[in-house]
Subunit: 335 residues, 2 copies
Amino acid sequence: MSLNDLSSAMLPKIEEELVSVVRRASINGNEQFYSMLAYHMGWDKSAAVALGKRIRPLMVLLTTSAAGGEWERALPAAAAVELVHNFSLIHDDIQDGSDLRRGRPTVWKIWGMPQAINVGDAMFALAHSATLRLADTSSPEIAIRASRLLLFTCLELTRGQYLDMQYENRNDLTVDDYWPMVSGKTAALLAACTELGAIIAGANDTTCTAFHDFGRSLGLAFQAQDDYLGIWGDAALTGKSAESDLVTGKKSLPVLFGLTQNGLFSQRWFEGPIEPEEVHTIAKQLEVEGARQFTQETTARLTDQALNALASIKADNAGAEALEELAHQLLTRKQ
Amino acid sequence: MSLNDLSSAMLPKIEEELVSVVRRASINGNEQFYSMLAYHMGWDKSAAVALGKRIRPLMVLLTTSAAGGEWERALPAAAAVELVHNFSLIHDDIQDGSDLRRGRPTVWKIWGMPQAINVGDAMFALAHSATLRLADTSSPEIAIRASRLLLFTCLELTRGQYLDMQYENRNDLTVDDYWPMVSGKTAALLAACTELGAIIAGANDTTCTAFHDFGRSLGLAFQAQDDYLGIWGDAALTGKSAESDLVTGKKSLPVLFGLTQNGLFSQRWFEGPIEPEEVHTIAKQLEVEGARQFTQETTARLTDQALNALASIKADNAGAEALEELAHQLLTRKQ
């Protein structure tokens, strides 16, 4: 079975589990409260294309399968990671002042900042209550281990978020500062997805660690690739150049590399905001100073690390093949 | 042993457990991140009188003791409820735009709204990870039951908060709208404290329910009393009349009662914000229209309900006596 076959079987079950968890918000008849959560999840009528890709829950289920377990048992954890991801998006959008998410107005944009904080908090509570159903599908011990791991991961997320916000006001950052931030913001949750999948399959510690390493390296590679696309991707260089990371001022991997070269790029960066019409010239300058090659090499190295961790498990089955295919899809995407 | 003796033994252990949980935020050397959480908890140097009263963790431990258990085993749950309470305060202060908390600047006032949302999120994750240590002090089954209860309580908190914020823009509210809001915002967490204490003591379902009812009625009585003091308390009527609920416009129990009388109070209320110099006259008018008596009678009825629930358990021991004493202290306070 390919990734396509497996995900076709898994995605409807993931959505079913998600709905049954989030529905808890409407107990005692509070449909309006529920509707704000449902809107963010992409379940309202305006949401034909607003569903997330559900990459994280798929990674949990594929890992359980790759590690020799029944993926249906991992559905509570799959729902939990997706809800954690969505909780963090709701709060991120407030923190960043973002107006749009998946092409629609963000929760805070519609209902205001105070209500949006609260919607995120409700999503957080639902996420962690979702995990505990593992006590029914697996065992109380596995539920506790999974719950601890996911809560620790949320602490990592908040630490990454802290660094990201703190970096906005700093001019002394180097590439070394990049890794602790993206470890928390991106890699920790992907590492948790694959580790959770392995734990639920009852894998031994060596295998759990290898799956964790796979998820973590994949997350770091994903972020480095994202940062690459944020400057040299088609969207960043063409019509949407206002969305280029150079214009938004994001301290991404290539930017931090460029800043430590003390060349023309760094000089221009510190002069003030970059305008959309400068995007081509400055992206070129950054390339001349070596940032493009550095980012590509870094992504390739992290991708190798991820695939080596996966290969070390020697899980010669459909789940492992599908995981490898998913990793390739994520790391060769063009936007 | 009196409440005083028991709380003298418990409070240092509560603080120790809280510190050991919150310290997890500084793993990997992020002292600055930890320091924001520690500041809110009242552990920094400026905090001589900024510690919370730790009422909720005391209620957990006293209940465990009253229900015949060893209170030391309940310390993880005691820390968890206090951290949940503090998470909600951090986010409440942002949502309300409050500048001060326990006489000091609020987290958002010092570090800004985006960082404060994140500090609250970290506190939330720590709270729920605290609960899981019950797997070590009690059993995995009890840890899961406690964790489910506390997460469900957090969902109730967010639902109460949703209603509270939504009520700000509504002019059609009655006393009936008051109860679902305060059930979530205040009573749910106190009910969870006493129910958790009983669960950890291994009490049977009848006893757990009675303790839950005690906490819930106590929480409702506490809030009704708080609303009473917000209008007729010394602080609200004297120097600090700018803090009177009449001036802040809070839709408290006496206000909702007054609004449904369609008298002079209701007429004045809908004309626009009440000024500090009007506080005496309007508090008097509200009393004439019956709101003062109604609020006192409601508090008394809820207090009786709470004490009857406690008495029904027939726990004739020091823990139960101390719980009763604590209930009296809370409900006869003057500010």
